[in-house]
């Protein structure tokens, strides 16, 4: 992509000053549609129970699943609700999965005085051999056994199972299926190379300056300051930058001031204040040159529950004067130049990672797409707003690019669906750890990692390692 175009004039700037330095015009975005409406919350009332989300989720997804089930196991199969089950009859049931996990942190257990338990320390994974799967529908629930991968699945998934009820009251599963990829609108991408840069996990305010130079290099490449002419003209084809969450570092989240006495902490400023100022400056540099979409992440100053609302513009006084700055929700959905983007800042994937045996972020990303829901574990283990009318996390149509931020590594994959859908799956790595960003070419849906580095004293040669 970049390099091939730029190669001819690579060494052009190793020369005495030329008369006319060339300037390139930024490739304009021909169409941009913001589709985050379902994720924007107007009035937020938390007075409702969370059970309603599950109810609407099941209602919305049931028709899809019934269709899939009939497609997979034949149209003659019996579709039954749990209350209609008869022992021994082979049938198909659609319901919500619940995984009862021994190690799942439970607030009730923690505060229970009988047990006198200390709060459980956080673990990477909460799965255990003794976990069980239970299927619930509108009225009843039943335990599942059989050919179903208990470790892999997580609570909140809607699926269809095929099997029969046994005498001991459990359901013996022979096969199961998910909603699979929804329909996809045809992609009307640009005809020339247009790029979108995806970055996540800038991690400002961390107190360690390792990735600061890399961040500056990133900004310089995008704004066309760095590189020889060929590279600059390629960079001019970057039409958009999406910052996928965790703009602030986790260390800005420290809340020791809460525990300290007021007189000690009166004059101290929260760490996030300085970090946000730095963010504002970086965004200003970017905004003067390219449209930027800023998604909030786990450590950013916005609400905790999904869907996270956009950062408030008052925090970014310098950058928000530019109309190229767009503060958007997490998850984020938009149509850029005819290509449908959908992505999150990674909380959904990392939550599934904790409660499932799947280890690879790309695998989990793909799995959520197959299941038809962005974040099945919400609201069980991931904070979520108590929706009741509809569940906005269900895939209504298949995106062309589906990404998640703050992954440990970069990976990308072109997934081909059953009905001819083509989705580019991208896991955007955490920039503060890997100094790598992702460049997506909208023309042919390809993705390339871009990594930046400086040099430091402890390197023997160059800087070839991925992350420093």
């Amino acid at each position: 992509m970049f390099s091939e175009q730029a190669a001819p004039t690579a060494q052009g700037l190793l020369a005495p000053p030329s008369a006319e330095p060339s300037t390139f015009a930024r490739a304009p975005v021909s169409t941009y549609t913001d589709c985050t409406e379902p994720f924007r919350l107007g009035q937020r009332s938390f007075s409702r129970q969370y059970a309603h989300i599950y109810a609407t989720r099941l209602i919305q997804m049931r028709p899809l699943l019934e269709e899939r089930a009939q497609h997979k196991w034949g149209s003659g199969i019996a579709m039954r609700k749990l209350c209609e089950l008869q022992a021994g009859e082979k049938c198909c049931v659609v319901g919500t999965l619940f995984k009862s996990m021994q190690l799942q942190p439970s607030i009730l257990r923690e505060i229970s005085e009988e047990h006198n338990l200390l709060p459980q320390p956080p673990r990477t994974k909460y799965i255990h051999q003794s976990d069980e799967l239970i299927l619930e529908d509108e009225l009843q629930r039943i335990k599942l056994e059989g050919t179903i991968d208990v470790q892999k699945l997580v609570t909140g998934t809607i699926l269809a199972i095929y099997g029969s009820e046994k005498d001991n009251g459990k359901f013996l599963v022979e096969d199961h299926c998910f909603a699979d990829l929804p329909r996809q609108l045809p992609m009307r991408g640009p005809s020339t190379n247009h790029f979108v840069l995806l970055v996540s996990g800038l991690g400002l305010g961390s107190g360690s300056g390792e990735s600061l130079l890399s961040m500056q290099l990133l900004v310089d490449v995008v704004t066309g300051q760095l590189g020889a002419e060929g590279e600059q003209s390629s960079a001019a084809q970057i039409t958009r930058v999406i910052l996928a969450g965790n703009l602030l570092s986790q260390s800005t989240q420290s809340r020791d001031t809460i525990n300290k006495a007021k007189y000690l902490t009166k004059k101290t400023q929260a760490a996030s204040v300085e970090a946000v100022k730095m963010l504002d400056e970086i965004l200003l540099q970017l905004c003067t040159s390219v449209p930027v979409d800023v998604m909030p992440g786990e450590f950013d100053p916005t609400n905790y529950t999904l869907p996270q609302q956009p950062l408030h513009r008052c925090m970014l006084p310098l950058a928000s004067t530019y109309s190229t700055l767009q503060l958007v929700t997490n998850p984020y959905q938009a149509e850029i130049d005819g290509v449908r983007f959908l992505g999150t800042s990674g909380q959904n994937i990392s939550d599934i990672f904790k409660y499932s045996s799947m280890d690879d972020y790309m695998e989990i990303l793909e799995w959520t797409l197959c299941v038809g829901h962005i974040s099945p574990t919400a609201p069980d283990t991931l904070g979520c707003f108590p929706f009741y009318k509809s569940d906005p996390f269900i895939f209504t149509d298949c995106p062309h690019v589906y990404f998640c931020g703050n992954a440990p590594l970069f990976s990308s994959k072109l997934l081909k669906g059953r009905d001819g859908q083509q989705v580019l799956l991208v896991t955007v790595p955490d920039f503060s750890a890997t100094q790598t960003a992702c460049l997506i070419n909208l023309c042919d849906l390809s993705c390339q990692p871009v990594s930046f580095s400086g040099f430091s004293a402890d390197e023997d040669e160059g800087d070839m390692e991925i992350g420093h």
């Binding site: 590189g227 020889a228 002419e229 590279e231 004067t321 040099f455």
Partner: protein, 453 residues
């Protein structure tokens, strides 16, 4: 170019050079290269250390990664050989000392960017047509719509405009300009009746004028105030203007604007928008605003009544020295209780506070809410100099009056009349007419009550 390196610096990066000389970044890079070449040819002995930027394709983890790296000169060839395709090579920086790590490069760049934040893309090779700063009008519209969405109008938000207020805000200026205007007026004036009224109006106006009010107000206010005073407005003030002032002050505090309003004041137009903001403010200040709304209902009567009420409000806090907040509230309620149609002399409200008080009319128009700690020196009727530190809080002159009254009140507490009665009596006192103006201006005291009775 050479002088830079010799004179200052430990290091010159291409970006630093570009901003300092005002040249395109590519030219800066070429200049650096040129300099290095020449210096090396001269072999003058001065050792120059150069870092380069190398970019290109590299296979990493099964992906073709586009790598962008800053390398020292000695590692340049090694890096180039690692890259499958080289996209660009250019000089990144020159320094006198060998750099151990790239931290200082970042610092140099950071500093130069910080000083040039507003035009950070000026010398870059890419120009984006879409990146234009929003005009203030667009910003305000965006804020307005955001405000409607959020349902909580933020009074203190700098750029936000209350929906009711159609003016483009430049709120940051308002606060500063208003005091300037007010202070200017006050500085020019010596204490006098009108001044007293001004004082009263001023705190009122200041309080009612919140940060979010239209920007046009402060500049206008300052001008009009000074105009007002300069043009012998004093006369007007003393005579009929008092009522008008009070009226204006009232207006500031009341949501609806009586039609009669400030004929005198050139800031009439400004005031009206100010009034409009009143409803917005009302949401915020429940108690006071509500009361003011009530007051506004009676508005018609009312210049006199306004004056009277105002005076009452001013006087009442005298007795309630303790409670700043409750003062205005109770004073307002008391005012409600005893409205009298008789035109009142300007609200002396015993507010001697010489200094900073309201400039009559203009003060009234702008409803700014502000908390300002001021020191007011006044001469009370016993000839004692009373200095009080007054915290002018949101609502108009209320808090200010309270404070100022509180002090003088304490002096008069010796008299047997119950403190609580003072406000009422004081109120009635000022009502009595212009004749009592001078007394009222000085100090609301129990003596006023006795005199009238």
């Amino acid at each position: 170019m050479q002088c830079f390196l010799c004179v200052f610096i430990l290091q010159v990066t291409y970006k630093w050079l570009s901003y300092t000389l005002g040249v395109h970044v590519n030219q800066a890079k070429q200049m650096l290269y040129d300099y290095v070449e020449r210096k090396r040819k001269e072999s003058s002995g001065a050792q120059l250390h150069v870092t380069y930027l190398v970019a290109g394709n590299l296979v990493q983890n099964g992906y073709i990664c586009h790598k962008v790296a800053v390398v020292r000169e000695d590692k340049l060839e090694a890096m180039k050989s690692k890259l499958a395709t080289i996209a660009s090579v250019h000089v990144y920086s020159i320094q006198k000392a060998l750099l151990k790590d790239s931290g200082p490069l970042y610092n140099t760049d950071y500093d130069i960017i910080k000083t040039n934040l507003q035009n950070c893309s000026k010398f870059s090779a890419i120009h984006c047509a879409a990146a234009v700063p929003r005009t203030l009008a667009e910003v305000s519209q965006a804020h307005t719509s955001a405000q409607i969405d959020s349902q909580t109008p933020n009074d203190m938000q700098v750029a936000s405009v209350p929906v009711t207020n159609g003016q483009v805000p430049s709120t940051a200026k308002q606060a500063s300009q208003q005091p300037k205007g007010i202070m200017g007026m006050f500085a020019a004036k010596s204490s006098s009746k009108s001044q007293d009224t001004h004082k009263e109006t001023k705190p009122e106006s200041k309080e009612t004028i919140g940060v979010s009010t239209a920007s046009s107000k402060p500049p206008a206010k300052g001008n009009t105030m000074s105009n007002f005073f300069g043009k012998a407005a004093m006369n007007k003030l003393k005579a009929s203007s008092e009522s008008e002032q009070a009226k204006e002050e009232r207006e500031v505090t009341k949501p609806s604007v009586p039609a009669a309003e400030p004929k005198l004041l050139p800031t009439t137009t400004v005031e009206k928008p100010g009034k409009k903001t009143e409803p917005v403010k009302i949401q915020k200040k429940d108690r006071k605003r509500a009361k003011r709304v009530d007051l506004s209902d009676n508005e018609e009567e009312k210049e006199a009544e306004n004056l009277k009420k105002k005076r009452r409000r001013i006087k009442q806090p005298q007795s309630d020295s303790s409670d700043n907040e409750d003062g205005p509230a109770s004073s307002i309620s008391q005012e409600d209780r005893a409205p009298t149609p008789s035109p009142e002399p300007p609200p002396k409200a015993g507010l001697e506070p010489a200094s900073t008080e309201v400039k009559a009319s203009t003060g009234g128009k702008k409803r700014k809410r502000r908390r300002v700690l001021k020191s007011k020196t006044s001469l009370d009727d016993e000839g004692c100099m009373v200095t009080e530190k007054v915290f002018e809080s949101e609502s108009c002159t209320d808090s200010e009056e309270e404070f100022t009254k509180a002090k003088p009140a304490s002096l008069h507490r010796q008299s047997t009349a119950p403190v609580k009665k003072d406000p009422k009596e004081d109120r009635r006192g000022p009502k009595k007419g212009a004749a009592t103006a001078s007394k009222a201006n000085k100090q609301v005291s129990i003596m006023g009550f006795f005199q009238k009775k």
